[in-house]
Structures are given as C-alpha cells and as structure tokens.
C-alpha cells in the first residue's frame, strides 16, 4: 500500500512540474484533483473535529448536554442558506456574527500586543551594561538602531505632514530601515521557497527512487 502511495505521489509531483515546461492538460488534471482533494480533506476534518466531536457529542449525545452549543449550530445552518439565492440574505446573520466577534477580539488584542507592548519594549536604556558594570557597546548600538528604526519608520507612515525639512529627513531614514526590513524578508522568503522545493526533491530522490538513505 505504501509503495502504491509513493508511486501515486511521485507521478502527481512530476505531472505538476510539467507545468514548468508548458501549460498542459496533465497539469490541469492535477490542478482539478488538487482542488477536489483539498476541499474533501477540509470537509472531513471540520466535520469530525468540530461538528461531530464538539457539537454533536457535546450538545446532543452527552449526559449533561450543553444546550447553548445549539446557538452556534443554528447560526452555522443559516450560513448554508447562501446556497439558495432566494433566502441567501439570511446568511448575513452568521457572517455578521463572525465579523463582529473578530473585530471585537482584534481591537484590543492587536493594540496591546502590537502597539502597547512594542512601544514599551522600544523604551529602554540605550546604554547596555554587562554584569560587571562595563558598557556593552554592540548591544547598546543595537538598541539605538531599534530605537531610531522604530521612530523614523513611524514617521514615514505619517500622512498628515509633507516629507520636508527635518521631518522629511527622518522619514527618509525610515524608508531606508523599511527597505532593509524588506530585504530581510526577501531573503527569508527565498529561503522558504527553496525549502519547499527541497522537500519535494527529497521525496522524489529519497522516498521514491531510494537514492538518499
């Protein structure tokens, strides 16, 4: 069974890679299977882990049923009205619920984690000292870099004042910092993409052809 699986996987992998040469029906077929299998996979996991395990076992068959779970199920079923154009407006109710809940949760969470706590950790002693009280110059320089980077970066994203004079200079330093940041994320993205390919190559050469042990 495992061998059959590995062969299936290998054939699918090569078939998708054929797109690199040219778009072709074999690739299109794989794309169709991809859509079908992913949708089916999600359907099963959400069915058993959420609808069955959480709702059905919790609210219907349990010894002490938790009735309020029905509220969620009712909202969920209302979502399915989307499939029927005449009553599809009802689906806005669960959608409104999700949007509202997300907005409520995000509002304070984002602010605390990504604004308050980030500002707090930017406000530090620039001069870092070692255990013996000696100044750690490298660390101090790093702290200064963070400080300048955060402040000028924020200046760049300030839209109520034209970028002129000292403020403009600050904003310019800010965009340089942002560019270094984007460079780092460029490098890391390339790193991730290469890893994806290495994973596939490892499957083809190792699991399938057995060239890597």
């Amino acid at each position: 069974m495992e061998t059959v699986g590995i062969w299936c996987g290998a054939i699918l992998t090569l078939a998708i890679f054929s797109f690199l040469y040219k778009d072709n029906p074999v690739y299109k077929a794989c794309e169709a299977i991809f859509i079908g299998v992913s949708a089916g996979y999600y359907a099963i996991v959400y069915f058993f882990d959420s609808i069955y395990k959480k709702f059905w076992l919790g609210a219907v068959t349990a010894d002490q049923p938790e009735e309020w779970l029905f509220g969620g199920a009712i909202l969920g079923v209302l979502f399915l009205t989307r499939l029927f154009p005449k009553i599809s407006w009802v689906a806005r109710w669960p959608l409104a619920f999700i949007v509202g809940a997300t907005a409520g949760l995000y509002m304070v969470n984002y602010f605390v984690t990504n604004a308050m706590n980030q500002v707090a950790s930017t406000i530090t002693d620039v001069i870092a000292r070692g255990d013996a009280g000696d100044i750690n110059w490298i660390q101090s320089f790093g702290t200064l870099v963070i400080l300048v980077g955060v402040i000028t970066g924020l200046m760049y994203f300030f839209f109520s004042k034209e970028h002129k004079g000292a403020f403009g200079g600050g904003a310019k330093v800010g965009i340089w910092f942002l560019m270094v940041t984007f460079g780092a994320s460029f490098g890391y993205t390339v790193m991730s993409r290469m890893s994806l390919l290495i994973g596939r190559m490892d499957f083809l050469l190792g699991d399938w052809l057995g060239l890597i042990n």
């Binding site: 069915f47 509202g100 924020l154």
Partner: protein, 225 residues
C-alpha cells in the same frame, strides 16, 4: 430587517469580546466563552458551505459545458472520493472498540493525506522556488536607491543565514562574520522596521474594528452607507 439585524448582531458580538477583555466577571466572561464556541462551530459550517458551493459551481460547469468542463469531473470524483474515504474511516472508527480516529496513522484517509493531499499541495507551492529563480534573473533590479538597499540586505541575509558567504570569509578568518551579520540584521534593523509596521497595522486594525463595531462600516453585510 435585512440591514438592521446583521448590524445589531455585529455590534453585540464585537462588544462582548471587546468588553470582556476589561471585565472578566460574568456575564461577560461567560458570554465570551459561549460566543467563542459559536465562532468555532460556525466556522466549521462555513467550510462546508465552501465545499458545497464548489460542488454546485462545478456541477453547473458540467451542465453548461463551459470551458474546461471535462476537468470538472475530476474535481467531483476526487472531492466525493476523499469525503467517502473520510466518512468510512471516521464512522467505522467511532463504532470500533477501542475507538479510533479517521486520521490515525494507517487509515485510508491518512493514506490519501500522505500521498495525495501532501504531494499535491507541496508540489503546487514548491513551483514558487522556480518562479523566484526566474524573477531574480529577469526582474529583480537595483533600479533605485531603495531597491539597491533592499537587494543588499536580502543578499546578506540569504548568504549569511546559510553557511554560504561564511565559506568565503573562512579563507581569511575563523569567525562566522556573515552569519553574525545576517543575525544582526534580523535582530536589529529588521526588528525595528517590522515593529514600525506592526504598530501601524495595530492602529489600522483597531480603527477598522471600531468602525465595524460602531456600525459605520457596513461593507461586510453587502451594502454601502
């Protein structure tokens, strides 16, 4: 009815989660838990909505014989096939003694996951490695000061984060200069830039969340002002 009810639902749900952050006491603490459960269940139904919608759209495509309709058969076969395998494994597992899970190692569903789902998704995304390569040859240019700065920093990180540039510096010195430099870029200038972006995003999210809760932003319920 069609407009007001959704806006009311949005505001109530939003307020419960925002307020319960500050007021842990019941009824807010309790309401937060109940609403949290609801979100979880509603999302599961939303996924099923997506799946059923896919089925509907694909069937329509077959009936209308629109472009590429033969591939639609493949979508339906693989979708229904995966679901049937999952239901078979799931329900036999529930009635087995001791109970097993649809996703346990060795089930048919796990086999589909390992050799079909994994192979397909991983390969689809791995093509991006090739596309990054060709774009780096044909498009990524140091066309101005900013792009130059970006490419230099990208280069140092790309070459420093793996022992690549260090192989060159190793000819002169033993200390991993480029690895340290890449690490420094990540921990200081990158952290600073990311933090500036994060603070901006946090305020942006807060603003849009506020508009949603206050009911002045209504695009999500399908209508302008």
């Amino acid at each position: 009815m069609r407009r007001e009810v959704p806006i009311l639902i949005t505001s109530i749900a939003g307020l419960v989660f925002a307020v319960s952050y500050f007021i842990p006491h019941n009824p807010f603490g309790k309401a937060e838990s109940i609403f949290g459960d609801w979100v979880s269940i509603v999302q599961a139904f939303a996924i099923w909505l997506g799946v059923l919608n896919l089925l509907k759209v694909t069937l329509e495509k077959i009936f209308r014989k629109s472009e590429g309709w033969p591939f639609s058969y493949l979508i339906i076969i693989s979708l229904v096939g995966t679901i049937l395998v999952g239901f078979y494994d799931g329900f036999t597992g529930i009635y087995a003694i001791p109970q097993t899970s649809y996703s346990d190692p060795g089930t048919h569903f796990d086999w589909v996951y390992k050799y079909f789902y994994s192979a397909l998704t991983s390969t689809m995304f791995s093509m991006l490695a090739f596309f990054v390569g060709s774009a780096s040859y044909r498009a990524f240019r140091a066309r101005n000061v900013q792009a130059t700065l970006l490419l230099i920093s990208g280069f140092l990180v790309m070459g420093g984060r793996v022992p690549l540039l260090d192989r060159i510096s190793a000819l002169f010195t033993d200390s991993p200069i480029f690895s340290n430099l890449a690490n420094w870029i990540m921990n200081y200038p990158n952290a600073a830039g990311q933090r500036a972006i994060l603070i901006g995003i946090a305020l942006g999210i807060m603003s849009s969340s506020l508009r949603v809760i206050l009911g002045i932003e209504r695009s999500h319920i399908g209508g302008g002002n």
